[in-house]
């Protein structure tokens, strides 16, 4: 298992009560595993079926392998402008 930090923003940060949380996932984890781990935490019910994930400040459209050292973030529906 490895520990990964996940950045949270806006409504997600509010629901989890934190702007970042750490989850334990297998070494060969994907972004989908990270989402599943988050969903089991208090506040995890806020997440939609397939929340948008960004890795190293880029959107990832389908599950990708993730590892410690990457900047992993969950992106609520954006509302800029």
């Amino acid at each position: 298992m490895t520990e990964l930090q996940v950045l949270l923003f806006a409504s997600y940060a509010e629901a989890f009560g934190a702007s970042a949380v750490t989850v334990s996932v297998p070494e060969s984890a994907t972004s989908a595993d990270v989402v599943a781990a988050l969903r089991s935490l208090p506040g995890g019910a806020v997440l939609p079926e397939a929340p948008v994930v960004a890795v190293d400040r880029r959107y990832v459209r389908s599950p990708v392998a993730v590892r410690a050292g990457q900047e992993i973030a969950l992106i609520p529906p954006v509302a800029g402008g």
Binding site: Y59, A73, I75, A79
Partner: protein, 148 residues
């Protein structure tokens, strides 16, 4: 010429116009998003904008790079403000200049549409009754009127 910024102080539209306009440009466009008093039928007192700043900057850079490829020769500056904004304050400004008007106008539109679609910025509306609501442009309007 490209510049993108996330700012915490009031945006100065005149400064952006001066920044993109040169003796070689003939058309300058400016788009401003401002806080308005009513959304979805509820009286708004202000909006709190927040951002994933590092990624928002990267995404804005990518959008302006794409705009430069589509509309060759543009000069473009985008500033998005975060924090609590009151009615009529400017949340986003996009200034574009070009020798001719069509690329300047097309690039401005491209940039704001992409910004709204992709840049990780969020807003929480504050209402007269003290309530607050995260805006989700992807949500369908609900019967409670709480979504927009």
């Amino acid at each position: 010429m490209i510049r993108c910024a996330i700012v915490t102080t009031p945006i100065d539209p005149a400064a952006l116009l001066a920044e993109v306009t040169t003796p070689s440009t003939g058309a300058t466009t400016l788009f401003l998003g401002t806080v308005r008093d009513v959304n979805d039928g509820r009286a708004v007192t202000g909006i709190e904008y927040s951002a994933y700043t590092a990624m928002a900057l990267d995404e804005m850079e990518r959008i302006t790079q794409e705009a430069t490829q589509r509309f060759e020769g543009i000069r473009i500056v985008i500033e998005h403000r975060v924090g609590i904004l009151l009615l009529q304050e400017v949340s986003v400004a996009i200034a574009v200049a070009h020798a001719r008007r069509a690329p300047a106008m097309d690039a401005s539109r491209f940039a704001i549409e992409e910004l709204k679609r992709r840049v990780p910025v969020w807003k929480q509306e504050h209402y007269v009754d003290g309530d607050r609501h995260w805006i989700d442009p992807t949500a369908m309007q609900t019967t409670t009127g709480a979504s927009s």
